[in-house]
Amino acid sequence: MRALIVDDEDLIRTSLKRVFEMRHHEVFVAENGQQGLEMWQAHDPELVILDMLMPGLTGAQVLKKIGAQTRSKVILISAYTGEYDVKKASELGATLFIAKPFQNIFDVVDRAEKLVENGK
């Protein structure tokens, strides 16, 4: 699959990218919202992992700009579990919400794969 990772935290981008590549997926990374938006439009990924809190465009704003035009599955990740809860995530148009910190990065990727798999 083609996956887009949008997160301002370098280490998270790196580690997610590693695991996806280990599983032979094509990975694009963006380090802020604006860049993420552009790459999303350019590559039409099947999966987008989107951090909520980023400088510039936030995850929510990116989602809003993309609007209904995307077919991509979206996983929101955030440390502010309370503010961006499940309900809010689905309202925003995301499919899944995963709280930071992750317990296990492989689990995160497993869930992402399943999401795309089921959606087909």
């Binding site: 280490l11 580690s15 590693r18 502010y80 309370g82 499919t95 990065i105």
Partner: protein
Amino acid sequence: MKDETAQGLSALIKGKKEILWLGSDDIRVTAMLGSDKNRARFATISQFKKLKISDEISLVVVVPGQLEFDKRAIEKLKRVGAKKILIVSDHAPKESLAEVLAQVSFAKIIFENNLRAELNLAIEETRRGQGPEESDASVPRTKAMVSFIKNLSAALTIQEVLKTLREELRNFQAVKEPLLAFVNAQNELAVMFFQGHQILERKIQEPWPQRPQVRLNDLKDSQYLANIFGRPFAKLLSIPLRLRYLSTEHSLKVGAVLFFEHGLSEIEANDFLQSIEERLEPLGLALDRLLVEQYLKDVSRLWERTFDGLKDPVAIFDADSQILRANRAFAENLIDVRSADLMSDKLRHRDHDYEVQSYPITFGLSARPTNIINHYVDVTISNRLKKQMIQNEKMAALGHLAGNIAHELNNPLTGVRSLAQILITQVKPGTTLSNDLTEVEKASERCQEVIQNLLEFSSGGYEKHQQYISLRAVVQKTLPLIKTLTSRFEVNSDFFSGDDKVFVEPRLLQHVVFNLIKNACESMGDKGLLDIRTKIQVEKMNNYAVLSVRDTGVGIDPIVQKQIFDFFYTTKKEGQGTGLGLSMSKTIVERFGGVIKLESAVGAGSEFQIWLPLGNSGELPS
């Protein structure tokens, strides 16, 4: 002297100190008076020279025996106030005495067997004031009046005034005891009347129908009293008393009305009226005085009650800061405070905080206050609330801060941990490198947990939202925080291990758990069994996650059980309990759609249960 005579005399002389029995020796007097002799006033003829006017003698019975009773003796008796002298003798007087007796009517020889009749007559005469000559009689009459006034002014109650009046009028046998209608200190119409020896007071509903005026045998007056007493009143004399006290305010129009039930003819009634008329003024004065006294007493009692009824301490000081008066709250709470502290504007005493409000009072034109009233406003509770609010704000700020820090840390930490997890899969297991990476992974996990705990129970921004959380998890996270409380006791715990997620604010629920356990521990003193368990219960088709906290403490009285959920209700010592624990807990639990249940018996312990509706897990349906 025969016994019957003695008995007949006995009724006549009973209590009559104004009769002096004068004898040569007491043998004959004893013979005459029988056992009453000791109660009669007796003097020998040689002693009588010592008599004084203040002895208030009006009638003298002389039993001269063998001795001379002469003109000089008669003169002397007249001077000390005797109005009538009866000389009991069986033989004619000596010539010198006979001469005197012929000229005066107030001294008279009588025969012993006539004694009763003569004495009776003489008593009547002296009482009516029919003395020998007018000038002579006025002395004892004035004296009688003076003693009436004296008695009135010594009277402490209206009852005593009435008794004095009855005593004064007791010679009018056709007149019954007086009745007094008056306006009492509560401004109500009342009537006072004799019943046997007692004097009773009765409130009257019916307004006084007539103009204040002296009336004899007035039908309306009789009807009025008949209505009040439920019996007929035949002949009635009504005499208004003009009092200054409240005299125009009330329907009575005058302060009081005297009623006499009587059997007098019209002429006799006028005589009676005359004799009572001069007594009306002192009577009025006495009543005035007593009613005003009573009124002032009532007013000051009311004031005192008001003063004492105030919850806050209040004290009145003079210009030198000496306490003049203080109310009960003051006496109970502040009596042992140094006077310098009493005059400051803030005061802390026995765990209570007071704000002092001072009100200076000036009398007249003086610029300096003569008195100061200090009101000690008890601000303990409002201070406590204020502190609580400040505390809440601090916690909120801290929570906010913690939220920000946590986010800043969580991001890199997630990266570190994830990367460690990846690297571990890429190195050979069991090598030093693999072990080190595992350490890094574990350390970052611990960091995450610390941050997570910090976030969950500080009142940070995001936790103001309800979330699905396991009841068991909340309880288990709370227990370590209160180890110092529970360590004295044996603790049993049993937690339901399946899905027990409830939709709550974790931090608030933790407060509830904390309060219940704290109360349980506080009820048990030094040892006991604390039982904490969670379970799932079904009630009316609904599933609940239930937490039960049971103690073997003192238990709660059924009456008290109704109050323990009230705000500020506490049985704990001042400064030890706020009385907010349970009331807050109840509010919180109800906010989450739950209830608190209580079972308790004095001496056996208590069990508090919180029932929270079982929720769903926090995943989006896929």
